[in-house]
Homo-oligomer: 345 residues x 2
DNA sequence: CCTTAGCACTCTACGCACCCGAGTGCTAAA
DNA sequence: TTTAGCACTCGGGTGCGTAGAGTGCTAAGG
């Protein structure tokens, strides 16, 4: 669908206006506020055409127009002026992110908070994929006869602990021994490359076959398949400030949706291809409950490899320009920061 | 204030009714539903007396009555029939809690979820005070030249990790050495009893004085003073189901309040005296923002010593009977479960 | 003296009519 | 092709009247 220049201007002005005011936009106001240089009647004709073509719609006959999902799509792809952090903002953001962090989890939290505050939408971050990070260290602490605590430090400094269950009793010595061997063998290895049979090399030196099996299982399978739990969420309450969620039922169902980490992870995955932002507008969202929201997601990387995704979620009437700008900006920063945390790799 | 038997019955019936319906209760309905055996007119007289004495109030002249905070207080202290888990519920609760857990954090989470679901209010849990738990194990993992990851396992199986900063470079050997020494020295010691000078005994054998200082500081001070962060929260969205929070602004401000962990911790502390439930009704709450809510809190214990608190937060029109019952029930269970996790003690 | 039936009164919630204003589409003239 | 003019539509706010629930008061009854 080709739109002539004037239609483009009308669509852009109208979308900008609606994003700002959340009120249907009428021809008179549009002409006045965005001095389009033509009369309201002309704009009305254009608007009628745009509506017929599916870019706009009217909530009711005697109201102004609102962009449809298709309208937003066109706006995002072709019309919006890209937001860039002004020098002041840039400084503030950098300063804020500068606090030294050693733990990836904190870095991610901070990124999520930053994004939520800057955009006033809810922010989501999928933690780095374990497969794409590097083994740094493991500790095995026996808890009782049948449970061992495994503390795993991976390379952009991520610490996690898991309890593994061992059938037969396990001695502290076996734990120490196995941890030592693993640390020697795996330091700097990419998690995704830890092969089951490579571990076989140390099987002999570990006294307890049970322990060996449980931990090997954890390292090769267990740790990798938990991504959905690891979605960080900030600024969920920002959503309540949006006029589209003044209705408590809608707000409630959306907030409930945000508790379903696996769904969020799925949505974040959609944008985990490219390191420029992906915009998912309303109906485009595969998750039905999010069809009246928009999501802006960008991947973040480690050494050029995509390891996670970060984004914001807000109403379809979203400040796309700022959202896209901020998400990309924060994603870049996050990638940089994580790179700084890598030690082994 | 002494209330005669009939006034007590009226107040009880009215409160029960209002808790159930959330609508002001009139004399006619009250008599009908709770067959009080007297006429509405008589009840009206009683209600007028109760209102004058401050136990009830009317939203407007031609409406029924609503219990005041004072009315709820009297209800809670003197009138309500205590809720006990029926045999069916008891079974379900036990079954649910039975899944074997080794990690205190999971146990607490589960308790919080259970409480939130059972009551349909928001549940809060303050994690066990570190001072009151026992040292089990420490690991020190060097992250880079100046940062060491300390993983501490305390005795009702609580795992936490902290990064300590060390001024000068630190060797892996020093870390291993120090961890070994600490594990030998402190196993089974109550955190609150770890004295700075007792640690001096191992100062010599640790090569790095910096490391020693940083970790000693962490063990004696750092770890203990972080309680406010460790408040677990579940079922916050339940609040949106309560009719008193149908107004989005109120809901928003309350939900925002729930993000302030330190405030919640403070509120939980109020109930951390006795192991029977403490009820804080409306205006009694020291936190102004929670003055139109009620909180039911109970302490939970380890070996008889209070180590934390668990509770629910809901509207003043709360099902106090059930809330008190459930909170005490879950607190007891939590205490029992934690005791089962103790190994060193 | 306490209880209760009766009654007048009060107040809210709700439905309805009404109007105002913003906005539209259409037509005809520039 | 643009625009001025005009009739039309519709949502939202306002005012009014009514129904219903509830009260307080008074006077009669046990």
């Amino acid at each position: 669908m080709v739109l002539d220049e004037r239609k483009r201007r009308v669509l852009q002005a109208l979308t900008d206006d609606y994003i700002e005011t959340a009120e249907p936009v009428g021809s008179r106001n549009l002409v006045r506020k965005h001095n389009l240089g033509v009369s309201p009647a002309t704009v009305r004709n254009e608007m009628a055409d745009l509506e017929e073509a599916g870019y706009l719609h009217q909530p009711h006959t005697s109201a102004g127009r609102i962009p449809s999902d298709k309208g937003y799509r066109y706006y995002v792809d072709e019309l919006m002026t890209r937001w860039e952090p002004g020098p002041g903002e840039h400084g503030a953001l950098v300063r804020r992110a500068r606090a030294v962090r050693v733990i990836t989890e904190e870095v991610i939290h901070e990124a999520a908070r930053l994004l939520a505050q800057a955009t006033n939408y809810a922010s989501l971050v999928a933690a780095p994929r374990v497969e794409a990070s590097y083994f740094r260290h493991i500790e095995l602490v026996p808890l009782d006869e049948t449970h061992v605590l495994a503390v795993i430090v991976s390379d952009p400094g991520f610490v996690q602990h898991r309890v593994v269950e061992v059938r037969r009793g396990v001695t502290p010595e076996a734990c120490t021994r196995m941890a030592e061997e693993l640390n020697r063998l795996l330091f700097g290895v990419r998690f995704g490359d830890i092969a089951r049979d490579a571990l076989g090399a140390i099987k002999e030196s570990v006294r307890s076959a049970d322990l060996y099996d449980a931990v090997a299982e954890l390292l090769t399978d267990g740790i990798a398949h938990q991504s959905s739990e690891r979605v960080y969420l900030e600024g969920t309450l920002n959503i309540l400030s949006q006029p589209e969620f003044r209705d408590i039922e809608r707000a409630k169902s959306l907030l409930a949706m945000l508790e379903a980490r696996d769904v969020l992870y799925q949505v974040l995955s959609l944008g985990a291809r490219s390191s420029s932002a992906t915009v998912i507008i309303g109906q485009e969202n595969p998750v039905p409950e999010l069809r009246d929201c928009s999501v802006v997601v960008s991947a973040y990387t480690l050494n050029g490899e995509v390891i996670g995704a970060i984004g914001v979620l807000g109403p379809t009437r979203m400040e796309y320009s700022k959202a896209v700008g901020m998400v990309e900006y924060v994603a870049d920063h996050l990638s940089d920061t994580l790179l700084g945390l890598v030690r082994g790799g």
